[in-house]
């Protein structure tokens, strides 16, 4: 009998847990540790954030799904890992602190034979002074509750516009090292769509404040497409959309301080600027969750297991080197932890070896470097191959070969909504193949036969279809495993 523990129940953790439960006999245990009681389809938070979808359509409770599937669920957060075991037991252990199930605050040590770290991001609003819902200045769409608040504040802004009061709206990234620029892009154009539907667009000034050095970068260094017999770029394509919609982009920014009315930010040239606003949705940078690691004697080995960012070190090449020397081979393939062959980190929880988009510094030394996205499709796929590796280790033995998939091999789909409505909606639909460019394989870094970017009504249909498909899959309804990651 083996005990498998999965930390986190987001896209990666939940996918890993469902596949493990499906592939392992009931005499093995699968335990999920997540501080959240609900599963959230985060891509649709964008629609909650403009008031076009209720929160209830993007979340559902995890406990009934796990009870039905035979997964042991602990509503708790991991606070420490003991990969070498401790004085009581040679097996690895995780110390958890409950956040629900009538045990809030209580701690417990649970043993594992195999551990999957899929803890997702810690939303580091504190990285920028005054950023985020808790500071009361800017809103976020990172969680369903944040998105509900964003919708309320946006509605209040639109009400003022209807009264004839000009308003300045800012959407973008709240720090120079943010990731998920695609989400900021989506929210920008959904806000634009709402302003137009309300008939108040002409009174509103809408800024897109981003850490990207060029439009269409999306934290992946942009994309090159084959379009109409020419090689076109995501920069050209997105610039066209910004011009058409009248959205004002400000690039290469790092906000330093946010008050209730002003965003103070630095640009790549080192200049400081003040932007007065009435409504702002700015994403936070991500970090790993603060989990400590201890050896068998109780010594702190956190720096051996986790990178300074808090993400777990895996089978990547973390050797520091200049941007020009980064290679596709640096990226992890098995997601196995450094030094421990029964621990893996998937999704946002693994430490990427480097950025995909070129990192930059201002003359003042401020780092403006979009972090690599590791959400959605790649997260699910990593989780599935790690689940398969664990199943093989249990069924075949410790010599079983690890399954592998690298972000330099896997493609991903990104459908960025630009407004809702079955006949008036639109979205930028992108396929990037692979996610991390491999210049040894493709002259442009990506496969031109499959890498695509288009905007249109069908993009909205695709995003809506993905919404229902992935919620169906996450609820583990009949045939869920047939829906690809």
């Amino acid at each position: 009998m083996a005990n498998v523990v999965v930390l986190g129940a987001g896209i990666a953790g939940h996918t890993a847990a469902l596949h493990l439960r499906r592939m392992l006999g009931r005499h093995h245990t699968v335990t999920v540790v997540s501080p959240n009681s609900n599963w959230n389809w985060i891509p649709s938070n964008i629609w909650v954030g403009v008031g076009k979808m209720p929160k209830t359509k993007v979340v559902f409770p995890l406990a009934p799904i796990y009870a039905k599937k035979g997964v042991d669920y602990r509503q708790a957060k991991a606070v420490a890992v003991y990969p070498q075991g401790d004085a009581d037991d040679a097996r690895g252990a995780v110390e958890i602190q409950y956040t629900g199930q009538d045990k809030a605050g209580q701690t417990e040590k649970i043993r594992y034979d195999y551990l999957v770290n899929a803890t997702g991001p810690k939303l580091k609003f504190e990285a920028t002074e005054g950023l985020g819902p808790d500071a009361g200045n800017t809103v976020s769409v990172c969680t369903a509750d944040h998105a509900v608040e964003a919708a309320e504040k946006l509605a209040a802004t639109i009400a003022k516009l209807k009264e004839g009061q000009p308003q300045t709206l800012v959407v973008g990234t709240g720090h120079g090292t943010c990731t998920c620029e695609g989400a900021a892009f989506e929210y920008t154009f959904n806000v634009d769509h709402e302003l137009r539907e309300a008939g108040v667009r002409d009174l509103a000034t809408l800024y897109y404040l981003t850490n990207e050095a060029a439009l269409g970068d999306f934290g992946v260094g942009g994309m090159i497409f084959n379009q109409g017999g020419f090689e076109s770029t995501s920069e050209l394509w997105t610039s066209s959309l910004f011009r058409e919609r009248g959205v004002k982009p400000i690039l290469g920014t790092h906000p330093h301080k946010i008050t209730s009315s002003t965003i103070t930010y630095e640009t790549l040239d080192g200049e400081m600027h003040d932007l007065d606003y009435d409504f702002a949705m700015l994403l936070p940078p991500f970090g790993g969750h603060p989990i400590k690691a201890f050896d068998v004697a109780g010594n702190d080995i956190t720096d051996q297991v986790f990178a300074p960012s808090g993400f777990m070190k895996v089978d990547a090449d973390y050797t520091p080197k200049p941007y020009e020397e980064w290679r596709a081979d640096d990226w992890p393939k098995t997601y196995q932890s450094v030094g421990y062959d029964n621990i893996w980190a998937v999704g946002i929880a693994f430490a990427p070896p480097h950025q995909i988009s070129k990192p930059r510094k201002t003359p003042n030394g401020t780092v403006i470097a979009p972090a690599p996205p590791r959400t959605g499709m790649p997260s699910g796929l990593m989780a599935k191959i790690v689940a398969k590796t664990i199943v093989d280790r249990i069924q075949i033995g410790p010599k079983a070969v690890s399954h592998h998939v690298s972000m330099t091999e896997m493609g991903a789909v990104c459908v960025a909504s630009a407004g809702t409505g079955l006949t008036r909606g639109s979205a930028a639909a992108m396929i990037m193949d692979p996610v991390v460019p491999d210049f040894t394989k493709y002259p442009t870094g990506r496969n031109l036969a499959t890498t695509r970017g288009e905007i249109g009504l069908y993009g909205h249909w695709s995003k809506l279809m993905l919404h229902y498909l992935f919620i169906y899959k996450a609820k583990a309804l009949p045939g869920w495993q047939l829906i690809p990651e």
Binding site: T205, S240, R243, K248, E271, L275, D276, D433, Y458, S462
Partner: protein, 59 residues
């Protein structure tokens, strides 16, 4: 590509990206983006490409 845009409603100038050279979609393109028939064709083609990629990568 960067210029200082000063507008009456904006007391502080912002380094907004100059988009005057970005291609502006014409009426035909904008209409095509909302034509349900052509969009249905693109919807099928887009999802076919996704499935092809999924199958070839062994998802």
């Amino acid at each position: 590509m960067t210029e200082q845009n000063i507008q009456p409603s904006e007391p502080k100038p912002q380094p907004v990206l100059d988009l005057t050279r970005a291609p502006m979609p014409n009426v035909k393109t904008l209409k095509a983006r909302y034509n349900p028939f052509s969009q249905f064709g693109r919807f099928v083609a887009f999802n076919y490409r996704i499935m092809k990629m999924v199958v070839s990568s062994g998802h």
